[in-house]
Amino acid sequence: MSTLLPEPHAYRPGKLAKLRDGLRYQGGIGQWSWMFHRITGIGILIFLIIHVIDTFFVVFNPALYDHTVAIYGGVFNGQYFWPLRWAFRLAELGLMATVLYHAINGVRVILFDFWSEGCKYQKESFTAVMIVFLALMLPAAVVVILPLASAPDHMVKVPENTPVQP
């Protein structure tokens, strides 16, 4: 296997110049899609850690689980707060966009790995990624954001915890 890499990028001394040079590494759409792939990857991992912990509640404390998911719906301690609901709905949309970008761009990366001509179509393939992303994201945005126009269906009341009945 040949690795025809360009000469290593020359970094100027100094932390700030180094950061600026690092951000301009090779440049172009390939670099930015790569950087977004990393940022979205880290974002998804942070969410995943929170998500595993909140789903863990389900097995030992149903009331704590319902209390937690009620917050995601904008209800805290049996009281509805609209900014809470808005914040979580928008964050939900952000999460979907993040996962969707990482998924579609990941498929593009795999195509490059197994189809040697792929890298020649860096720009075209990124345009394709963006088209697929928007085609899936716009309807999703409508579905997620539209319910915010009306009040929530019901207020959530969480009962006291009861021991697990096998």
Binding site: R38, G41, P62, L100, G106, E117
Partner: protein, 147 residues
């Protein structure tokens, strides 16, 4: 091999390289399917304990959801933490610091994977709790009955 693509020559890194691509492709379906079910077909306002119980403890289809969630958490954890390891390896060069980073990542990953697996396999429905919840939230009860 295409220009400018770096593929490891062998050993653990090559296995990890293949794992990232295979798990990534599987996760496209598992994770996007999960997002569709949870955020499009349902939403954060009708997901609750009773909803989770209805999926995992369903006598006919429960095992499918548990298998789905189990595969998803295992692949996502390994994929995510290996990705973070690769990023950190580019910035952390000291031998001691690397050992510390790798140890921390493996410990956190294993803990989360054990927590998730425990929740998925050990889940039992608390029927008394679900009845209490439905009694307190008649609107939620009718909404879940309509599904």
């Amino acid at each position: 091999m295409a220009r400018n693509r770096i593929k490891p020559q062998g050993g653990f890194e090559l296995t990890a390289w293949y794992f990232m691509r295979i798990s990534g492709l599987v996760l496209v379906f598992l994770a996007l399917g999960h997002l569709f079910i949870m955020h499009i077909a349902n939403n954060v306002e009708n997901i609750n304990y009773a909803f989770v119980a209805g999926r995992w403890a369903n006598p006919r289809t429960g095992w499918i959801w548990r298998l789905w969630d189990m595969s998803m958490i295992a692949l996502a954890m390994l994929h995510g933490f290996n990705g973070l390891r690769q990023i950190l390896d580019e910035y952390v060069h000291g031998a001691k610091a690397r050992v510390a980073v790798h140890t921390t990542l493996w410990m956190v990953m294993t803990t989360l994977l054990l927590m998730g697996s425990y929740a998925i396999w050990m889940f039992q429905v608390d029927k008394a709790y679900v009845d209490q919840y439905r009694a307190l939230n008649p609107a939620a009860a009718s909404a879940s009955a309509a599904r």
